[in-house]
């Protein structure tokens, strides 16, 4: 904390800042920056991310007898057993603040890599800062496809982006036919008017058109509306087979409650994770969540099947009181990947770490994710991700698709 105090004193007395020098890490410590919203409307996301990343930090720094990436060694052996240390910064969902914090972490805290940022808008700016300073940036969960199309060399994303997610949803719908169920005859889109919602809906419309599935309602709603009654009415009157919903927690709660009150029961509700998957959502809507289907890139029922997943989940749960979810699992994984790359590079230099990341090829078994492997393409995107579809049963999401990961039978239609 001494460093921050230095900054405070130094920056308030502006003239005194001449003497302020970046206070780089001690020799045996390797710093990684994590930029999340810790205050403002997204604060909850940041708080949970911190627990996940702290869990990752522990895994790397302590010795665990687990078959997971960077678990067995205490610290990074290639750097003399140096420990990693995560430095957190708050971006308040504001790109300008994300930029300032990224620059601060790099120049003052001496971080060798960045992890973040949940919001794709902030990730867009942070990825550019990372490029300028030649420090690798792993977008842990920001999922806008535009991010890996900027032609940046220091940008990496191990998880899927919105197009892959949406694609999986449609593949899942295709599979309904194969399993002898009635094909999806029509879909209605329900999505918030943010980057997340509009990008998702754009891809959904493309894929629906490619499959000739009619989109009978296209409801873009204002995020954080006091009421969604009219929106639900519009959906209901279009009488779709399936609603594809993309929302953050607050609207997800309101949507499901309102749909229940207004008696709107389509055959299926397929959600773009996020709000529909949050513990706060599940607590708020209770049994109304049963039957909801969500895409996911983490399968919580893995924890029961793979002991090493159970162990890290327990560590995380002890801190946060929650199980890993789609976001927190990827944040944890991002720490592993970053630590592995630093170790392989055996260097604290950004370009060396970047090259190590670019050359990385880790089998999926070494992660807690149901992925084939982690291997980044030219654009920094890992295309060996696997996606699963989960269905909520008794307040818990369980994997129902694809078959090899399924832990429970799909209920379809839900109404």
């Amino acid at each position: 904390m001494l460093n921050r105090r230095d900054i405070l004193v130094g920056a308030t007395a502006l003239a005194a800042t001449a003497g302020l020098r970046p206070s780089f890490a001690q020799a045996d410590e390797i710093r990684i920056g994590a930029i999340y919203p810790f205050s403002g409307s997204g604060a909850q996301i940041g708080v949970e991310a911190k627990y996940a990343i702290d869990t990752g930090e522990r895994l790397v720094n302590e010795s665990f007898d687990l078959n997971l990436l960077r678990a067995r060694d205490a610290g990074l052996p290639a750097l003399g057993g140096a420990k990693i240390r995560i430095i957190y910064a708050d971006h308040q969902a504001d790109p300008q603040k994300g930029r300032a914090e990224a620059e601060r972490l790099i120049t003052q805290e001496g971080v060798v890599g960045l992890i973040g940022t949940y919001y794709s808008s902030v990730a867009a700016v942070v990825s550019q800062v990372a490029e300028r300073y030649q420090v690798p940036f792993i977008a842990a969960e920001s999922s806008s496809p535009t991010l890996h199309r900027q032609g940046l060399r220091y940008f990496f994303r191990a998880g899927p982006h919105d197009e892959l997610y949406t694609n999986a949803m449609f593949e899942f719908m295709d599979s309904l036919k194969d399993s002898g169920r009635a094909p999806v005859g029509s879909i209605a889109l329900f999505y918030e008017d943010t980057l997340f919602g509009t990008e998702t809906a754009r891809v959904q419309k493309e894929l629906a058109a490619a499959r000739s599935i009619p989109v009978v309602a296209d409801v873009k709603y204002r995020a954080n509306s006091p009421s969604l009654a009219t929106e639900v009415q519009i959906l209901k009157s279009s009488n779709p087979d399936v609603v594809m919903a993309t929302s953050y927690t607050t609207d997800a709660i309101l949507f499901i409650k309102t749909a229940n009150e207004l008696g709107f029961r389509p055959k299926g509700v397929i959600c773009q994770d996020a709000g529909y998957y949050e513990p706060a959502f599940l607590a708020a809507v209770g049994p109304l969540a049963n039957g909801l289907i969500s895409r996911a890139t983490y399968a919580p029922d893995f924890a029961g099947r793979r002991p090493e997943v159970q162990v890290v989940n327990d560590i995380f749960k002890a801190m946060s009181g929650k199980d890993f979810n789609d976001s927190t699992s990827r944040e944890f994984t991002a720490v592993q990947i970053m630590a592995e790359a630093i170790n392989r590079a055996a260097s604290r230099e950004g370009p060396a770490i970047r090259d190590a990341l670019a050359a990385l090829d880790v089998p999926g078994e070494l992660t807690i994710m149901p992925w084939e492997r982690i291997k980044f393409g030219e654009d920094g995107q890992n295309s060996f991700v696997k996606l699963v579809m989960m269905q909520c049963k008794d307040g818990v999401y369980r994997t129902v698709w694809p078959g090899q990961y399924a832990s429970t039978e799909l209920v379809w239609p839900i109404s």
Partner: protein, 334 residues
């Protein structure tokens, strides 16, 4: 009426006070111009750029809100227009930001004049609420429009350092001097306004509309003129901000939060004063950045608490603004 042969004493005192203000301003500007020589740190530079940029924004706001007494909480609309027009012209048509900013400012001025017709008939809180509503409506329109990139926003393509395209990777210096230039320009405009007929009229409108009308002041036109000047500089600053951040989306340049950041420094520093906006910005912007950096990482609401208490304390204890503190140390002359 015959002109007096000698200038009465109060007027000379006034003139010398104005000369002194100008001298102080030049000294401050010079010191600020040299400051980067002493500051190497990017984070501190970042805070400096923001502080000076918001000082100039608040100075522009003060022209309408302070001198003319029209409390706008919707200046984000001009800021956002400046940002969007500048970036969109550059990204879509390759028009350099220097021209883009002027285009944005021109559009902002036209909008300010168009909005003036319905708004300036509104009094007090009605005007303020109307400005909030207009900015929120603009936010909705931008978030749902095609050319603005909608909710996705607009990102500047990654490009090498250049003064022409206003893109710089690591150095903050160019943005610093741009912001400083803007701050000096808005200060000088304010300084000039304080001693022109328009300035007197505006302040007359502020203190007593009925009295101003009886003196023959065209209240409506005064408000329109102040609004146009204010919108112009706000939009230019919006353009600078957009290139400084390199990415804009509706919430980051057009939300109520921006309107507040534009008005707060002037209000807390000293509304309707020459130095209030700068003083307010010097306190508020580093406060906001440092409380976030210092307390924000905890996930607790400490930064909001500190910021909220500060705003309350200054409003209650220094209703004339922080600028009134200066007179505690420097006795007011003349």
């Amino acid at each position: 009426m015959a002109q007096p042969q000698t200038i009465p004493a109060p007027i000379t005192a006034f003139t010398s006070r104005r000369r002194r203000q100008l001298a102080v301003a030049l000294a401050v500007a010079l010191a600020l111009a040299l400051l980067p020589l002493a500051v190497a740190d990017v984070f501190v530079m970042n805070i400096l750029v923001l502080t000076i940029l918001f000082a100039s924004l608040s100075q522009s706001w003060n022209i309408l809100g302070g001198y003319c007494g029209q409390i706008s909480l919707g200046h984000a609309v001009y800021f956002g227009i400046g940002a969007y027009v500048t970036v969109a012209l550059f990204v879509d048509f390759g028009i350099l930001p220097w021209f883009g900013m002027l285009a944005g400012a021109a559009i902002a001025v036209v909008l300010a004049l168009a909005l003036g017709y319905p708004c300036f008939r509104l009094a007090g809180h009605y005007y303020t609420i109307a400005t909030i509503v207009i900015a929120e409506a603009a936010l909705l329109l931008v978030a749902n429009a095609e050319w603005t990139g909608g909710a996705v926003g607009l990102q500047l393509p990654f490009a090498p350092d250049s003064w022409a395209t206003l893109q710089f990777g690591r150095t903050k210096l160019p943005y610093y001097y741009l912001a400083l230039g803007l701050a000096v320009a808005t200060w000088i405009v304010s300084w000039v306004i304080e001693d022109t007929r328009a300035g007197y009229w505006w302040r007359a409108v502020n203190s007593d509309i009925a009295a101003a009308q009886s003196l023959g002041v065209n209240v409506f036109r005064s408000k329109m003129a102040a609004s146009a000047v204010s919108a112009f500089f706000t939009a230019v600053a919006g353009g600078v901000y957009a290139f400084f951040v390199s990415y804009i989306d509706p919430t980051s340049v057009m939300s109520f939060h921006i309107s507040l950041l534009i008005s707060l420094p002037a209000v807390l520093g000293g509304i309707g004063t020459l130095w209030g906006p700068a003083l307010g910005a010097i306190v508020l912007i580093p406060m906001g950045e440092l409380t976030r950096s210092y307390f924000g990482g905890t996930g607790l609401g400490t930064n909001l608490i500190v910021y909220g208490v500060l705003v309350m304390a200054i409003s209650l204890l220094r209703p004339q603004g922080l600028v009134s503190l200066v007179h505690l140390f420097v006795p007011r002359r003349a």
